[in-house]
């Protein structure tokens, strides 16, 4: 128990530093790249005077450290600020002649509204990936030189090479447009998450299958496997009770990293292609529209989630194998 508490205390304090650092980098980069958010907010025909007035009101002309300090102080109170672009109604306030401040949505509300959609998509993607990868990865690990091992290697090579944009469009064209089996664009029910989840699963499977196969194959070479057989345990028992358990630790670590990849990479691209209303679509649109508060909010949230996942993975790994001390 004392170990767990010390572990959590140490890792969480490290995590907070990481989140703050990432937050500062994102915060600074957003203000360095070209593209004035106020110009997008008020539209192209607004005068420079109007632009500057709203920029001043929003504090965008203050020095960077002042802006970041203010942001952190709000953040400490759980306030991620208001979107520059999205209205509470779900519409956009961009292009209006006023700053639409009364109607601008809370970033936290936007994120909270988008999380269930992304969670569903990510969960379904991981589930499909595991259903596909676990049997195939274990079989390939047990028979690395057999046909199943070679076929698995070939499949994972193909999967890892498929660009998710291309695969997404192809799946929409075949499954949704040609065959009419599944809906594809937007979200009106769980069915809308299936096609994008398949795209995520394909990308994840490629990595999970290979990692699992090599982990199982490596464990099978360990002395304890032969020792168990010599002592009268069946191979089936050895695999189900010992090999898979020992192969799980590298998989857990991989999973931490892959979930991060899902949140930060594929999910964003896939949600944009499918017009799926999760965190990814929210963020991509926010980037195009220079919606600083939303980008910052999502960046801080995803960094925090990544840090937490990694802490959790390390904790579980230590639980499985007490020799591991992170």
């Amino acid at each position: 128990m004392a170990f767990v508490l010390t572990f959590l205390l140490r890792r969480l304090s490290q995590g907070i530093v990481i989140v703050l650092l990432v937050g500062f980098v994102i915060f600074s980069l957003l203000r360095i790249v070209p593209g004035d958010p106020v110009r997008i907010m008020v539209g192209p025909m607004a005068t420079e005077e109007q632009v500057e007035q709203i920029a001043e009101e929003l504090g965008l002309r203050d020095p960077l450290p002042v802006q970041f300090g203010r942001y952190l102080s709000d953040l400490a109170r759980g306030d991620l600020g208001n979107s520059f672009i999205k209205a509470t109604s779900g519409a956009s306030v961009a292009g209006g002649r006023d700053d639409g401040s009364a109607a601008r949505a809370q970033v936290l509300d936007l994120i909270v509204a988008a999380i269930p959609f992304s969670a569903l998509l990510a969960g379904l993607g991981v589930l499909l990936a595991l259903i596909f990868s676990i049997p195939l990865g274990i079989a390939a690990g047990l028979y690395p030189n057999g046909w199943i091992g070679r076929a698995t290697f070939a499949i994972s090579s193909v999967f890892v090479s498929l660009p998710n944009i291309w695969l997404g469009i192809l799946l929409i064209l075949i499954i949704s447009v040609q065959l009419g089996w599944l809906p594809a664009i937007g979200y009106k029910g769980v069915a809308y998450a299936v096609l994008p989840a398949i795209v995520l699963a394909v990308e994840l499977s490629a990595v999970i299958v290979r990692a699992l196969a090599s982990s199982v194959a490596a464990t099978m070479q360990e002395n304890f496997v032969q020792a168990g057989i010599v002592r009268g345990l069946t191979m089936r028992h050895m695999i189900t009770h010992h090999v898979l358990r020992n192969s799980a630790i590298p998989m857990l670590n991989l999973f931490g990293a892959q979930l991060g990849g899902l949140l930060l990479g594929s999910l964003f691209v896939v949600e944009y292609i499918f017009n799926y209303p999760g965190l990814g679509l929210l963020t991509v649109n926010a980037v195009f529209q220079r919606d600083f508060p939303v980008i910052q909010g999502v960046a801080i949230l995803t960094t925090a989630v990544l840090v937490l996942i990694n802490i959790l993975v390390d904790l579980i790994s230590a639980g499985i194998d007490r020799r591991l001390q992170y």
Binding site: G35, R39, A94, A191, F288
Partner: protein
Amino acid sequence: MSATRRSFLKSGLALGGIAATSQLSAPFVRTALAGQSSNSVIFASGEPLTGNWDPTSHTILGQINFEGYVFGRLTKTPMRPENPSEIQYELATGHKVISENILEWTLRQGITFHNGKPFKAEDVKATFEYASQPGKSAWYPGPVDVEIVDDYTVRLNTENHGYPATAYILLASFLPIMSAEDIADGAISQTPNGTGPFKFVEQRGDETIMAAFDDFHEGRPIIDEFRFAYMGDANTRVLALLGGEADIIERLEPEQHDTLAERDGVRVKRTVSTENKYLHFRCNKAPFDDVRLRKAVCHAIDRDLITEILGAAGHASSSYVSPVKLGGSDIANYPTYDPEESQRLLAEAGYPRGNGLPELEYITSTGFYPKTKEYGELITALLQEQGFNVKLTVLETAAWLERIYQPESGEAPGHLVDVGWATGSPEPDLVLRPMWHSSQSLITGFEDAEVDAALDAQQAEGDPAARLKLIEEGVMPKLADKVPSLSLFTSVLIHGMQSNLEGAYFYPNGPIDLSKASYT
């Protein structure tokens, strides 16, 4: 075959699984989840709507499209190339020029707003006076006083404001008529309330739901429900159309036009738009403060090659405004591709073969207009061929938007800028004044007393025929001679739609009239 307890359980589980799958499969079938009635139209917009429903509060094309469904106007202008200035009366039944500064409108009776309020002269007065306030909207030439003659007659008076009231003849087709009550109490920002064929129901995320207005004065639309859905990505819009999740989509790329044109079940519609695409010179700084260099650039550009690159998205034109606008016919002295003339002008300006010219930055965008990067590269190559030392800067939309306008102080960035200008009326002044009148010159910084005088003269002319002559023989030849900008081509709006949707009219500035549309 004997049945054991284990096999029975297995069979039971299998049957249960099949039954559960059959229950679950329903939501997984696309058609079962379409979610809209068969008499519903989903429009996939390339732009989101703003949260403020006041039509005078923005310059967003997507929102202007939306207003076309909800609001009525005094007139409609179909803007067909064969008769750009044709006027059809909508909420008005006629107009009369009383004097240069007084324009009278007679109004249609028996019309109500979506909230039940009868439409009367007070609404026209409130709308015109509200929209024309200085700084309120970019589209109107100045304040106007509106006199109510009776409940169905109004007079627009500009005597105190220094411009002719006739400027509103064509602009009337662009100004959505709002309820006087909504303007007075500020409700216009909160809820769109018009006299158009569809009434606003609710905003659901990125989707705006509208329903047919039973009391629409031209008869209830056949379409029951209209959904305005934002889909930012052009590929996603095409896939939504093909998958039946959208019924009309906009802003297709030329390649997408060609692909959809060959497919069954959908069709494409090309509409020559009100938008011209320009290569603007920064005329208020060197070296393009020298007209000879501007002309040398114009003669170095082969515009036929540009329209080839644009394919279905471009329409060749040689005028400073679109052919669907008043005065948009081709200009006789418009610069043509002539490399020899380009060389002669370069030498005359003191830069033979471009020697001695500074590096010239050409700013363009990607992700907003079709093919800007591609034809930007072509223009760069053509200019370099003549000796111009041109550097092409391709910016994504937000960064480009920040750099296109003249700042209030200091120099605007770059030397050449690619910008389009789309407006919702055949009125040419919506383009001519913001672009080239020295009182505005938003992008070029161009100042020329002769051009100003020509622009003022045509604006002051109340007779449409005489005005057209002043534009065609006064304004346009002067602009072609001084070339503050080079109009490259006229944009073409490309829409895709389900092939069984009939009766829609596509306006050249984007809005679609679905009041008579139906599925066949």
